[in-house]
Symmetry: C2
Subunit: 295 residues, 2 copies
Amino acid sequence: MKLAIVGYGNLGKSLEKEIDKRTDLMLTAIYSRRTLDNGRYRPLQSIATTHDFDVALLALGSYNDIAEYATTFAQLDTVDSFDTHAKIADYKKAVGDVKKDSLSIISTGWDPGLLSLARATFGIGGGESVTLWGEGVSQGHSNAIRSIRGVIDAVQFTRPKPNADERISNGERNSAKLHDRICYVACIEADKQRIKREIVTMPDYFADYDTEVIFTTPNEVRQLKQRTAHRGQVVTVGDGFYVKTDVRLDCNTDYTAKIMLAYAEALPRLKTDGYRGALDVFDIPLKYLVDRPLI
Amino acid sequence: MKLAIVGYGNLGKSLEKEIDKRTDLMLTAIYSRRTLDNGRYRPLQSIATTHDFDVALLALGSYNDIAEYATTFAQLDTVDSFDTHAKIADYKKAVGDVKKDSLSIISTGWDPGLLSLARATFGIGGGESVTLWGEGVSQGHSNAIRSIRGVIDAVQFTRPKPNADERISNGERNSAKLHDRICYVACIEADKQRIKREIVTMPDYFADYDTEVIFTTPNEVRQLKQRTAHRGQVVTVGDGFYVKTDVRLDCNTDYTAKIMLAYAEALPRLKTDGYRGALDVFDIPLKYLVDRPLI
């Protein structure tokens, strides 16, 4: 199977590493907007006219420009890990609208993706699910801090409150009451009070959370960014049952890459069976992802 | 939605109880081979000629007589919890072969069923899964003990070894090395040594396990049988990740009933979309079981 990677940030690099481990997969090209010092680099605008791969693995930093997505990738079979939960439905519709003979599997990865499957599976008995993330880096929140004037660098770790399980048992379902956010920030001394205030009052991101701001050096922030481990727990509480799914991973992007590759391998079988347009993990029977009968 | 229950053991009774809790479901009849003291009872042989329900919920003690299944249920839409893992493939084929315009969803429940989905989901990243059962009653093993000459009554509890997690981390995958089996047996004094020997040497069931036999009174066995709680854990170990799914339930058959009802509700939607024959949980996209887009 021949694959292309589109985008060469952390996820693109993880995809490259995982494909190179596999003898049954071949990486034909890495497409990027930036010129890369990589023998497999090709400029992104050339992707629409090349046909030497089966599936394009989208590892773009942002999928916000839906119009550009539509024109650039309309003819291609793609797998992505689009992860802005609130925008998935719009994204799916936009992608589906431009795909005629091609197929896109969207929002794979571990969350959304495998934890979505866990929430759906254990919701079958009528349960209600709460998800706990961390301890691990929240990329979007780290970016939000870095966008504050005067911040040199920053990284934000999310972790469940120590008594999160107990709070869930007592009926708490609000994510903001179940997590703490710890922000490591490098900035100059004079800006500290203002920056701290801007962080802890930032709506949507921090205002509703217990947020701790720790000022440190750019060097320590750089080192903390290398902590790639993450964890996700789905707790499902129902009438007469309790389910906990606990996923611990060494490297967020490596795990996402493995999952994207599994869906890429399923894609040709789905096309053979007539699937077209945009599918998410709820649309795809698990028989396409396992290599044996019911287990 | 109108439902019928076929079979009136523990599972049939749990199905009746769960349906009666629900305002959107109606129980039209309970079919059984035995004459029941229940206002909704009808003799099993009348089921093939009645058409006043949408889905038949099969709660038979045994599905071994495939030929009888085929003739009796060929025209009906059914949901079952057939759980003899080794025979599921044959059962699925036999059911599928007789279903033309009808649909059967087989082997739902928590295991096989939801834990099958968990094993498949977390196998997507390339992991290998081990399942731990208990502590809870193993019905098949309890029956095996009761079939020994001289046994008045018996119940068998299965539980993971205290260090099962550590053994899995060290590479152990053999279920017999990860569980203990505790047998409570009522019999007369003179038979004890022979019965104990017959239990612990019974091939497939006990010979490979650490098995403890505790002799007690018929009364205590009867009380122990009322412990309906059960637990299942799926541990998936992969390259760079570790997942544990832990399902705890108050009552084995109540939980199975809830899951069967969810699949029964999905069945008409699956038929509308063209599905026929025999499906297991790997064949059915989760979108049919959840009431909202990707979560």
